[in-house]
Symmetry: C2
């Protein structure tokens, strides 16, 4: 397997990305990491760390899409950017997965333009991992790809999240909940009121009803479905709690498990290849875990499982 | 001033409510607390605590609206419930404010049926207080009265929140932000995209742009506006963080300031009298602060200020 990594993405690129690649290749066992970006910069960081360049493949690129750039414009206007080139390699099958801690919008647009949505998928979604108070994790989606959603799109998010939980995180018969503002079926905004009956009758996943904001970290469900507006606000609020607890020096296993570094990034689900977007502030540990997550996604054959479920 | 308190509302009623009333009357200075509910029960709790019944007025009621009851049905079917009676007293002007730690929906419906929305107010809203990392507080609204909102309703929430911040919490020229999923004007769901231009051009408050989930506890704004679906999810998520930190024994000034007890409850803004809804688990301290908040709202003349702004 060849795993593509954008070494120009993220606030600490290329250094954090290359250091992460060094951590990752040691555990990749027989798979090849393809570093996409400024080759000279990569070689210099590898040399500084006494790591042979022979451990990697390189695809040199000359452009970089900045964190603040407009996604669609940037993808079109910078064909030799690490993100554009990465997606071309992915489309051609020269790499089997692509990950980057760069511009999330550009990663989403790049995925849609290159490998495209899986047939049957209405709208790909970005997921995030939420730690549970007891051990384990939950999946929240969408966290920003689709600010406005229709009920049938939310139902599909349930499928995407359920398959991810089952095949990548090995959760049996994952429980899927609808993020809402009350327990009862008739509660919520118009979107939730229209979505609940569809989820209740679907055979595509194990629907367990509504979840409220307070249920997110409990063991009430494995997958929490919402529109990308709601999910993004939840994600950033939760991140701010993690940041605050860390700044205050609060040492606690649960708060520590909010650390994005452990999860490696947010997969884009519903496109024809594993794609993972890392946090902009990813360090080497986060980059390593992002690479390993993209490998797990390839090995789980998640793309085909989604295609089969929605065909 | 006569301040009405529902002593049958909340998980620990009537005891917590009467104990809260005892705490409150001592600082009310010349104002009268009217206890609405089971008079015998109230007298017995007062006697147990060695407090003379002469310190209060009483309005005896025989029915109670439970926490899980359907709001509209309950208000109609239980005319002698403490909530129904309280709102009748409020409508007649026999009390100048009404508060309860009971059924939130029933409080909202009761307010709309009795004192009604202030002319010009499209949709009353429920607010909550959010602590800031640095000292001080912010206001978040709506947190559940209106799951689906139109742009002009969100603009009015900005007015309601701004006037509350200014006249009840003494914040000069309050900064009003739109809860969104990006900083730029064009970001967000269709609702936010349509609301931003209206807020940008309004002269009704000091609009400072979009706020994201991570900005809620910072000093970026004083008032955070969102639809009631988003706000309710934020509220319950934040409450769960507070609950978790408390369960874990984390001692920290910021986390402590999430304690609802300090704020006394969530005002319903936009109706023709001060109405405050307390948390179901309100203890005596929370009840006391709920009573004091409703007094502050009367003294600030908030209702007339809202009416003037929106006429």
């Amino acid at each position: 397997m060849k795993i593509g990594l954008d070494i120009m993405g993220g606030d600490f690129a290329p250094k954090a990305a290359v250091l992460g690649a060094i951590k990752a290749y040691k555990v990749l066992q027989g798979h090849t990491l393809v570093l996409i970006g400024d080759k000279e910069a990569a070689l210099s960081i590898l040399a500084e760390n006494g790591v042979s360049a022979d451990n990697f493949e390189f695809v040199h690129t000359t452009e970089v899409i900045g964190m603040g750039e407009h996604p669609t414009k940037a993808i079109v206007q910078k064909p030799d950017s690490s993100i554009s080139v990465g997606f071309n390699l992915l489309k051609q099958g020269a790499i089997q997965a692509f990950s980057s801690a760069g511009n999330t919008g550009a990663m989403l647009v790049g995925a849609m333009f290159s490998v495209k949505a899986i047939p049957g998928v209405l709208r790909p979604a970005i997921i995030t991992i939420v730690p549970k108070l007891k051990n384990g994790l939950g999946i929240l989606l969408d966290v920003g790809a689709n600010a406005d959603c229709k009920p049938d799109v939310l139902v599909q998010f349930g499928v995407l999240g359920s398959l991810m939980a089952q095949h990548v995180y090995n959760i049996d018969n994952p429980r899927v909940a609808l993020m809402n503002i009350g327990e009862e079926e008739e509660k919520g905004n118009l979107l939730c009121q229209a979505t609940y009956p569809l989820m209740k009758t679907t055979s595509l996943f194990n629907f367990v009803g509504n979840a409220e904001g307070r249920d997110l970290f409990t063991d009430s469900a494995d997958v929490y479905v919402c529109d990308g507006f709601t999910g993004n606000i939840i994600l950033k609020l939760a991140e701010s709690f993690y940041g605050i607890s860390r700044k205050k020096g609060i040492k606690d296993d649960f708060f520590d498990r909010f650390n994005y570094e452990q999860y490696g990034g947010s997969p884009i689900l519903g496109v024809n290849a594993p794609v993972v977007v890392g946090h902009g502030i990813s360090n080497d540990e986060a980059i390593k875990n992002m690479v390993l997550l993209s490998k797990d996604m390839v090995e789980s054959d998640l793309v085909n499982k989604i295609a089969s479920a929605l065909q």
